[in-house]
């Protein structure tokens, strides 16, 4: 077809649109630099570094959930399934067979993909709540299974990673600083994956399915395939980030791995920050861990346990009622999900 003369007035193609202006790049580059030099600053101790690592890990996990739920519109309520599979597979392979997490994490990712493929194939063709319920059911089942196979998983007590000292091969360190850089790399890579996805043909198809499945099919989108691929991508990203989670915490138990409270923590970064945006989970994850640290401190002071859960709940209520587009939506008025932010 011959292009019209007015072509220059037409908005750029997605690839061009994803190019960021220099000022935006600077805004993103500054926090990266600040986090990177954190261990060098005189007033920063291991506690602050550890809290930052926690924030970065949950930003990565939140970003992974954001892909299936925020961009794809598939409410994976039991997404901790893939966190748990990642942690347990890596941990068991290391403790029992000496398989380093570099390889164990890859195997864990393959296992997560297989589980996601089965779950998705069975439920993603259906409309309604079946997919969400299936993810919850699988996560609850895995809580019980991991409690049951005590020899393999350590049962309700959980699984503690054998500590071999500072080792790059075993991905272990006595101090949290190395994890800071690993977690920062995860955040940067996951952020860019999300940004690239939002402006790619596949990302547009995911958003189309999220907005209207019938219209998406009428536009030529293979709805089931798009939903399944989005789910697989998210599951793989979650289980890879789980490797970092396990190496940092050095232990995992059934509730922390597959539990629903953990699943909610995976969702909070994107919900607080802004669903379907690349920046949302970054802001939301940082806020979540900051609040967690403050409330933990407050809990200790006033002797009330579980204050952090109460604060999470309140935050979630406020966001749902007052800012359904999250903090990003509040700050950038036009940043409804679908924008590259």
């Amino acid at each position: 077809m011959e292009a019209p003369a007015t072509m220059s007035a037409i908005p750029a193609a997605p690839a061009a649109a994803s190019r960021m202006p220099t000022r935006s790049l600077l805004y993103l580059f500054l926090p990266v630099v600040v986090v990177a030099i954190l261990p060098l600053l005189p007033f920063v101790n291991n506690y602050i570094i550890a809290a930052t690592v926690r924030a970065l890990i949950f930003i990565s996990l939140g970003q992974a959930w954001n892909i299936v739920a925020g961009i794809g519109g598939q409410l994976s309520l039991g997404h901790s399934v893939f966190l748990g599979l990642g942690c347990y597979t890596t941990g068991i392979l290391f403790n029992r067979y000496g398989v380093p997490p570099w390889i164990g994490g890859f195997i864990a990712m393959l296992l997560s993909l297989a589980v996601a493929l089965v779950m998705g194939s069975m439920t993603l063709r259906m409309r309604g709540v079946f997919f969400a319920l299936a993810t919850v059911a699988v996560s609850l089942a895995l809580v019980q299974l991991s409690r049951h196979f005590v020899d393999l998983t350590g049962g309700a007590d959980g699984l503690a990673l054998k500590f071999v000292g500072n080792s790059l091969w075993a991905m272990q360190s006595r101090t949290p600083a190395p994890f800071l850089y690993a977690a920062l790399a995860f955040v940067i890579v996951y952020y860019w994956i999300t940004r690239a996805l939002l402006t790619s043909s596949f990302g547009l198809a995911m958003q189309a399915v999220r907005d209207d499945e019938v219209a998406a099919a009428a536009a030529g989108v293979a709805v089931f395939r798009t939903k399944l691929l989005g789910f697989l991508l998210s599951a793989a990203m979650t289980s890879l980030a789980a490797v970092l989670y396990l190496q940092f915490y050095m232990a995992i138990d059934p509730e922390a791995a597959f539990g629903l409270s953990q699943a909610i923590q995976l969702q909070l970064p994107a919900l607080l920050g802004g669903l379907g945006t690349a920046l949302g989970p970054v802001i939301g994850g940082a806020l979540m861990i900051f609040l967690s640290e403050v409330t933990n401190w407050g809990s200790t002071k006033i002797g009330v346990e579980g204050l952090d859960i109460l604060v999470y709940g309140l935050m979630l209520l406020i966001v749902i009622l007052r800012a359904p587009s999250g903090i990003v939506g509040l700050v950038f008025k036009n940043a409804v999900s679908g924008g590259p932010r």
Binding site: M1, E2, A3, P4, T6, M7, A9, I10, P11, A12, A13, P14, A15, S200, S201, L204, A205, Q207, A208, R210, D211, D212, V214, A215, A216, A217, A218, A219, G220, V221, A222, V223, G276, V336, S337, G338
Partner: protein
């Protein structure tokens, strides 16, 4: 008549005990602009859903440019160029106008210049350049309908099925849209099937009308023939005079 773009043979559809379509057969030639009319409940929308692949027929066969597509999924029909709009406009509300069109074009074209040019050409053809970066909620109904047509034809379109695209529009807006639809037919060689309630709207744009009544085809001919068909007058139009209003 030239090659058949669409051949509907003996299509039937039941919803429980309700017969929505009964032995519906017709052929639409390549490059034709055909109107499909009928009173509420005649089965127009059900037929549209079946032809576009959203519903399976209880019986019958659909051929698209000679190939049987009765069991083909909706998205594959669309990629083969069988495109549609909806009675109630269904756009991707979180996306811009350009992205609404781009998402459909990208299912048929590889990323890059060809995709960009296709989006640009459609925006230009439907006079939507100024709205390209707006979201559907910011548009008038006429523009929303235009975007839906643009999305429907983006990438690859050989058969365009429009479901009451004129409803809710002012007379002037409807006239503009008719001109644009006819231009698509003329310039891109797209075969068009239009579902409408108002015969006068269709009479201005089609040379052939198919009338559905009580779940089956009761007339098939030029607007003038249909308007004078006693079965149609009795079943749907009421009087000859009101038919041509």
């Amino acid at each position: 008549m030239t090659t058949a773009a669409l051949e509907v043979k003996g299509i039937a559809r039941n919803f429980g005990g309700v017969v929505a379509l009964r032995d519906v057969s017709f052929t639409v030639g390549e490059g034709e602009v055909v109107g499909l009319i009928g009173p509420n409940g005649a089965g127009k929308s059900t037929l549209f859903e079946i032809v576009s692949g959203n519903l399976s027929p209880s019986a019958g066969r659909i051929s698209y440019f000679g190939a049987d597509c009765t069991a083909m999924p909706t998205h594959l029909r669309r990629r083969a160029g069988m495109c549609r709009t909806f009675q109630k406009v269904r756009l991707f509300d979180s996306m811009t106008v350009a992205d609404n069109i781009r998402v459909a074009a990208s299912q048929c074209l590889p990323p890059g210049r060809a995709l960009h040019d296709e989006v640009a050409a459609i925006l230009a053809q439907l006079r939507l350049q100024a709205q390209a970066e707006r979201r559907p909620a910011e548009l008038t109904l006429a523009d929303r309908k235009r975007v839906e047509i643009g999305r429907a034809m983006a990438g690859h379109c050989r058969l365009l099925m429009l479901d009451e695209s004129m409803s809710g529009l002012t007379h002037e807006e409807a006239e503009h849209l008719i001109v644009e639809i006819l231009a698509l037919n003329r310039e891109r060689g797209i075969t068009v099937i239009v579902v409408e309630h108002v015969l006068s709207v269709l009479a201005a744009m089609v040379k052939r009308l198919i009338v559905l009544h009580n779940a089956t085809v009761v007339a098939d001919g030029t607007p003038s023939q249909v308007a004078h068909d006693p079965v149609v007058i009795e079943a749907y139009l009421g009087t000859k005079q009101s038919a041509l209003k």
